[in-house]
């Protein structure tokens, strides 16, 4: 009886593997491009427009894996993605320095805004510099809600605190959600706190949220997106042709035009600003 | 009489213990053989070994002379027999579904199986329960179904493992009666393990007394009951008085045995000075009021005092001290008639022919 079950067992195991292989083989590998990007990028909805355009034009099938910024960079560093669309300056520079990427090209930027309750207890409305606003929030002891999830937004926020020279770790007024942008905004709105958000997500949720834009426009609040192809010399299995095709597409006139007008219809103002070909210094970062 | 089943040098060892050790056993076609013995004697194990539900550790089972497992395929052999257990072990379906299951296993089609099964349902008195779910049956109805299921495949040998132990007396009585009729009709060879001596007596052509995995005695009921081969069998079959003594005198037909200072005459053979064991069944002891008027044809008449009187349902057990311990059974009627009370003086007598001698040398 044992022999019977053992052989039957093996048969089903092999059959399952064959079935799995068959279903996967529907997509020939070279046609797949694995794009690692961030949840906030996906949540903006921009990719829902751009990716179909790219797929139709080139015949590639893009697998958009939207994860935290840290995980996206790690995927690229392990050769598990073909191209990255991310927005974490420091991490990107390290990525390139480690030889993981081929080219790092600027695509677009959006900006962060500091939002908070209309009552504005820390009196930061209209402050020109973000660092000053943060200082005021700390001084007043008003609650600041952070994403606390090592995302691009979180990285930017930590950067501002550091530049402002303010201690925030472990402070009573500093709270971390560990959640995505949309959820963090919901929590901040519920508790009537300050938070740092990307304009795109804020605009998408603005109705019914109850938080006002209090500080905007400062150079440090710019969130710049780059597209980076994963280095095939380091990771031969990476689909360099596909990754490059995608990167080329993102900086092409066609895509840039779409980026320029994305969001106007729905929110009245664009969510992103196309920057392909520009020098970073020109943006005042 | 043809031997339908035989066991040779049969050993069953499980968990390091020798559960069954039967050197040579024969079962005759058409007979009903009962296995009796205390718990742990190996009755169930022997049944399972004989039916090849359990593989023997050593030895052979021979079905009509062919060794099962060697020249006789196990599955083929198993399909010639049926077993009914103490629990009905019915399947979760209707009564008729259950009774047909043995046939379905043998590949018999549904309508053909139904046809074959109808008379079985009648025989065991469950025809009116045909479409009932097995889960709704009473204990008696369920066991009848189990029996019908066994007979439906016309087994050459029927094994019964204490099939009526879990039933109340009236139900038991009713089923045993029906089974008796069916067995008389079909003359199916039956091997039955049971605790109930009366059942064994009633249904069996032969009785096998088991102890410690061995068969102590296998013979016709009358022989086993009245001429037990040793003390163990004697006490198990219900001989209440077992006495050790020494042969004092002999003549052609009888022995005089000395037991604790008294002398008892028994029919049998022996040598003077030989140590023997006397077995006296309590039914064979006659009691009378000790006034010398009532005469019996018994040579052995003893006077003593009544010790305990224990009620045992239909009769009473009376323990008497008359130089040795003697046990008698009397009906309630007799008890009242003789005004038997503990402490009373009593005269007891036993026929010399009703006493069984076991010679200590093991003959």
């Amino acid at each position: 009886m044992k022999r019977f079950f053992a052989s039957w067992f093996l048969f089903v195991l092999l059959a399952s593997l064959v079935v799995l292989q068959a279903t996967a083989a529907a997509q020939p590998a070279q046609k797949n491009v694995i794009l690692a990007t961030t949840t906030s990028t996906q949540d903006s909805g921009l990719l829902d427009v751009l990716i179909p355009m790219f797929e139709k034009k080139t015949g590639y099938f893009v697998k958009t894996i939207a994860v935290g910024s840290g995980q996206a960079m790690a995927m690229g560093a392990k050769g598990e993605a073909d191209v990255l669309l991310v927005h974490s300056q420091a991490a990107e520079k390290k990525f390139m320095a480690d030889g993981n990427g081929v080219e790092r090209r600027i695509v677009m930027h959006n900006d962060f805004i500091i939002v908070g309750p209309p009552s504005d207890p820390a009196r930061i409305k209209g402050t020109k510099k973000a660092t000053d606003a943060f200082k005021k929030i700390a001084a007043s002891g008003s609650i600041f809600t952070s994403r606390g999830d090592n995302s691009g937004t979180h990285a930017k926020e930590k950067d501002i605190w550091k530049t402002a020279g303010v201690k925030y770790e472990g402070e009573k007024w500093y709270q971390q959600t560990g959640l995505g942008m949309g959820q963090t905004l919901a929590v901040a709105a519920e508790k009537k706190t300050y938070t740092l958000a990307d304009r795109g997500t804020y605009l998408a949720l603005k109705k019914g949220l109850g938080l006002d834009i209090l500080v905007e426009g400062d150079g440090i609040l710019l969130n710049v997106y780059h597209v980076i192809e994963v280095n095939p010399k380091k990771w031969p299995k990476a689909n360099f042709a596909g990754g490059k095709a995608f990167a080329d597409f993102m900086v092409s006139k066609e895509a840039q035009a779409v980026i320029k007008t994305f969001g106007v219809e729905k929110f009245g103002s664009p969510l992103f600003f196309p920057d392909a070909g520009k020098k970073e210094e020109a943006l005042g970062i | 009489m043809t031997t339908i089943l035989g066991a040779k040098n049969l050993n069953v060892i499980r968990g390091g213990s020798l559960l069954v050790d039967v050197r040579d056993m024969e079962i005759f076609e058409g007979e009903t053989l009962s296995l009796i013995g205390p718990n742990g004697a190996g009755k169930t194990t022997l049944l399972q070994a004989l039916s090849y539900l359990m593989k023997p550790s050593a030895g052979q089972i021979l079905f009509r002379g062919q060794a099962v497992g060697t020249n006789q395929r196990v599955l083929e052999y198993r399909r010639k027999l049926a077993m009914v257990f103490q629990e009905p072990l019915l399947f979760d379906t209707t009564v008729i579904g259950n009774v047909m299951s043995g046939l379905k296993i043998r590949g018999v089609g549904a309508s053909e199986a139904r046809r074959i099964v109808e008379p079985q349902l009648e025989r065991f008195g469950i025809a009116h329960l045909r479409d009932r779910s097995a889960r709704t049956l009473s204990g008696g109805e369920a066991q009848r179904t189990s029996l019908a299921r066994a007979f439906a495949i016309s087994p050459e040998i029927l094994f019964l493992d204490e099939p009526f132990a879990a039933l109340d007396p009236p139900t038991r009585e009713s089923i045993v009666t029906d089974l008796e009729k069916v067995l008389a009709e079909t003359k199916t060879t039956t091997i039955m393990a049971t605790h109930d001596r009366n059942e064994a007596l009633r249904l069996s052509d032969r009785i096998a007394v088991m102890e410690g995995g061995r068969i102590a005695q296998i013979d016709r009921p009358a022989v086993v009951m009245n001429r037990p081969v040793d003390e163990f069998v004697a006490s198990f079959v219900g001989t209440e008085t077992i006495l050790e003594g020494e042969v004092r005198d002999t003549n052609e037909t009888a022995l005089i045995v000395g037991v604790n200072g008294s002398e008892i005459e028994v029919v049998g053979r022996g040598r003077i000075g030989e140590k023997v064991v006397l077995c006296i069944r309590p039914e064979n002891v006659t009691l009378a009021i000790p006034d010398g008027t009532v005469k019996t044809s018994a040579r052995n008449a003893f006077r003593g005092r009544i010790g305990r009187i224990v009620p045992l349902g239909l009769f009473h057990k009376v323990e008497i001290a008359c130089g040795f311990a003697l046990v008698a059974y009397v009906t309630t009627h007799a008890l009242e008639d003789l005004s038997l009370k503990e402490g009373n003086e009593i005269a007891a007598s036993v026929k010399a022919t009703a006493i069984h001698v076991i010679r200590k040398s093991g003959a």
Binding site: E80, L185, K237 | -
Partner: protein, 232 residues
Amino acid sequence: MDIILEGILKAFILLVTFDREVLGITWFSLKVSGTATFISLFFGMSVGTVVALTQFPGRKFVVSLINTGMALPPVVVGLFVTIFLWRNGPLGFLEILYTPAAMILAQAIIATPIVTGISLAAMQQLPRKMRLQILALGATRLQMVRILIREARLPLLAAVMAGFGGVISEVGASIMVGGNIKGYTRVLTTATVMETSRGNFDIAIALGIILLLFAYAINLVLTYVQQRERPR
């Protein structure tokens, strides 16, 4: 509270208007979890039956492993499957990461211990002598197993429902090995997480309600089949 009502309304609208994307995601979820449950039935019922009916050294250890497997965190399964299926991982050559196949694989791994554990319990609660009785009726080993499975069909159906329930509701592994790719590997649970992350709570609630509705419908059918056999 309003947000929940908004969600219910949204769910209703999405269903009644046969919203293509939602229906597509729903159908895909059922296909993936259904296939995974089916695979887990093969492995689970056979292993559960064998372990229940045979004695072998180390049996108690195996049983405890199976029972522990029922508490296996799906997200941990997802992590391990992802690592194995990475391009540079041991099974990378299969190239099934971020495909429905990977999701079916991960879900099958999650469901199998559940189905095994309950099947094991189902077969063990049959009377010990039942096996002997079936053999005494002249059954072959194969016939005996078939009859035992039929006898235990009620709890075995529960195993199916438990396996299915475990995977239709899971999200951690599905996101990791599937990637939540629109129109390709997006299921109701992963879509719910995404919509919540975007702050679209009404859609998230709607998807959750739709998931519950379909899971309920399926279990209703299975329960009906199971309970139909109850004693009269």
